[in-house]
């Protein structure tokens, strides 16, 4: 119903567009002079106001109506069951609502039936009011803009203002979402630190990570929340991944940009980018089922002890996953180094290799560094591969052949584990926040580096 109304307003906007445009055209030929704004601008102006009025009324009434109904029904329920708590009241309300909508509810009694009846009536009324106000609003907006069409009306300027504000609102939504997420991270992190009495050194430097063992609701044992083994694992696996991805990706990019002829390039580049489209969960079981046993068997035949879940297996496969990010971005920046610089170097008798090493790569360096930073961020944040291939136990070791765990794996373990959310959320959010800060610092460092080594070309 709401969706149909949404479409109806859209249709009304189209009608308003056509009508306003026609009126403006007619006005222009009748008055025999040029309009300030062209007919389609008048149409656009009218359509925009119809959308604002119609959709605005729809959204506001739906939200407000929902809240009003909720409050009215809750008031009735709490009057009927003064001895119960909010938990029970909510249960009654949801039962009544599902009954009213024809679904099966957990149990029925007279109260629930009464509430269900009230809900049906209120909901019906809300729908009618919403429909009426929306349509009247849209029509009024259309009529008002239609009447406002004159020779000197500044419809173009006004509709451009509306569109500009609309764009600004969208940009604000994106920013506010980010800020909201960061604040919720900070909030939970502060709660977690309160639970361990702000013993930050134990969190940052502790070597035991077992936050949920033997704790009660909302409480934490500061001696068991050391993140060192987790970050050691993350860094080790990231390092292995980058040792695979950076050379392969960068050299592939150099080959594609400067040596491959266009036919090879036309095949190889899309295929490499296809690698980026493989879901990481596929890489994950590839690592766990194929690579890890292969490493273990190879290790055995060489007389080296390799765990069946190892940081090496996860890192290698993660490196393969990151190759296309590095190669594709580096290829773009290397290709965008102007041909004139290559010509200049070649014309001085430099070989192609010298040209690439001494002119092209320095000029492309900022882009290459940001490609690598993006790769590192991907590696740090990657979860599926490490969950399957690297192990779960927080094991502090420098040996890549042993099982290790990472920050992201522990977040997964906390959230999907059977500890209730309230206790598990604290450490999970705190790990997420720490990860976020780490990535942020790394990006800032990378930008610093880029600014220092930048060789600008025009």
């Amino acid at each position: 119903m709401i969706f149909a109304l949404f479409l109806l307003v859209l249709a009304a906007a189209v009608v308003a567009y056509v009508m306003a445009r026609q009126r403006a055209t007619a006005l222009s030929s009748a008055a025999g002079q040029r309009l300030h704004s062209r007919p389609q601008h008048h149409g656009l102006h009218s359509a925009l106001w119809v959308l604002i009025a119609g959709w605005g009324a729809l959204i506001v009434l739906t939200a407000v109506g929902e809240a009003l109904i909720q409050r009215a029904l809750m008031a009735r329920i709490s009057d009927a069951l003064p001895d119960e708590g909010p938990l029970q009241w909510n249960l009654v309300l949801s039962d009544a609502r599902s009954f009213a909508q024809g679904a099966v509810s957990s149990e029925m009694d007279p109260l629930r039936e009464r509430i269900a009846g009230a809900f049906s009536w209120m909901n019906g009324t809300r729908l009618w009011v919403t429909t009426l106000v929306t349509l009247v609003g849209a029509a009024a907006a259309g009529w008002w803009t239609y009447k406002g069409i004159t020779v000197e009306a500044r419809a173009r300027v006004q509709s451009e203002t509306i569109i500009r504000r609309g764009l600004a609102v969208m940009a604000t939504v994106a920013v506010l979402t980010t800020i909201g997420i960061v604040f919720s991270l900070i909030f939970e992190t502060v709660r977690f630190f309160n639970a361990i009495d702000w013993q930050l050194h134990k969190f940052l430097l502790g070597t035991t990570w077992s936050p949920l063992s033997g704790v009660f609701e909302g409480e934490m044992d500061a001696d068991k929340v050391g993140i060192v083994p987790l970050f050691a694992g993350t860094l080790m696996i990231t390092l292995i991944a980058m040792m695979v991805a950076v050379p392969v990706g960068l050299f592939a990019a150099i080959y594609l940009a400067d040596f491959a002829n266009h036919r090879v390039r036309a095949v190889v580049k899309p295929v490499m980018e296809l690698l980026a489209g493989i879901p990481t969960v596929v890489y994950g079981f590839f690592a766990a089922i194929t690579v890890a046993p292969l490493l273990r068997d190879t290790g055995e035949s060489l007389g080296i002890q390799v765990a069946s879940e190892s940081a090496l297996a996860a890192g290698l496969v993660m490196g393969i996953m990151i190759i296309p990010f590095i190669s594709s971005l580096s290829d773009d920046v290397i290709t965008s180094v102007p041909q004139s610089l290559r010509d200049g170097s070649l014309s001085l008798g430099a070989t192609r290799a010298e040209t690439i090493r001494k002119v092209v790569l320095p000029a492309a360096l900022p882009g290459i560094v940001s490609a690598i930073v993006l790769g590192v961020s991907k590696a740090i944040g990657e979860t599926m591969i490490v969950v399957m291939a690297a192990g779960q136990g927080p094991n502090l070791t420098g040996n890549p052949l042993e099982a290790m765990t990472t920050v992201t794996v522990q977040i997964v373990a906390l959230i999907t584990g059977d500890t209730e959310a309230k206790t598990a959320a604290g450490p999970a959010f705190t790990l997420g926040f720490t990860l976020f800060v780490l990535t942020l610092l790394m990006n800032m460092l990378a930008q610093r580096l880029v600014a220092r080594f930048r060789e600008a070309y025009d």
Binding site: L348, P362, D458
Partner: protein
Amino acid sequence: MNDMRLIERAVDMDDIKISARNVQVYYGDNHAIKDVDVDIQDNTVTAFIGPSGCGKSTFLRCLNRMNDTIDVCRVEGDIHLDGEDINDKQVDPVQLRAKVGMVFQKPNPFPKSIYDNVAYGPKIHGMAANKAELDEIVERALRRGAIWDEVKDRLDAPGTGLSGGQQQRLCIARAVATEPEVLLMDEPCSALDPIATAQVEELIDELRQNYSVVIVTHSMQQAARVSQKTAFFHLGNLVEYGETGSIFTNPEDERTESYITGRIG
């Protein structure tokens, strides 16, 4: 008097630096240069003129095999530098380009310091045994590029920060730093203002003392000002080639005359 002229001619004949015979260039299916024969003399400025798309730049790029870098481009015919076929399999284009320098239409300094721009070629070719020698080479090249006085106090500043005219003179200095024997210039002044153009033209005239200079230009006045020999290209053909004075005052071919007087082009 006539005897003197004869002797001069004889010297000229001996001093042919580059001789091209029957040169054809194809871009894919497009026949861009047709049957070009030309002799370029040493210590002379030779100008290539002609309307846009006539192939003069393409022909210029044949002389240091820069067309090798374009996949679809194919060059046929004989081009001899000091009697040696430059398209021979034995000839390394890298070594050829060390002998035949090039300056491009748009100034293309590397995103490096002024010093490093000029030192780039000498370093690659191992021309300096130590820093002092390199300093000397750089200074000499910058002086020859007529830009030393403007940049001597800021050799560490980026080359890309110079003005357009300074950048182009820096590129000329960079090209002469490797001690080439021939200097190819592809419309070196088209991105420059009149003052910078005058400076570069003056420089070209000085460079003639040591090099054979070949310059592609759209400006007939420029060709008349700086060159001793002029070649007129039209639709991939070399229409006329001779003393600059006679090309401009007394052209033999009517297409040359039409172009010079502004009727085609």
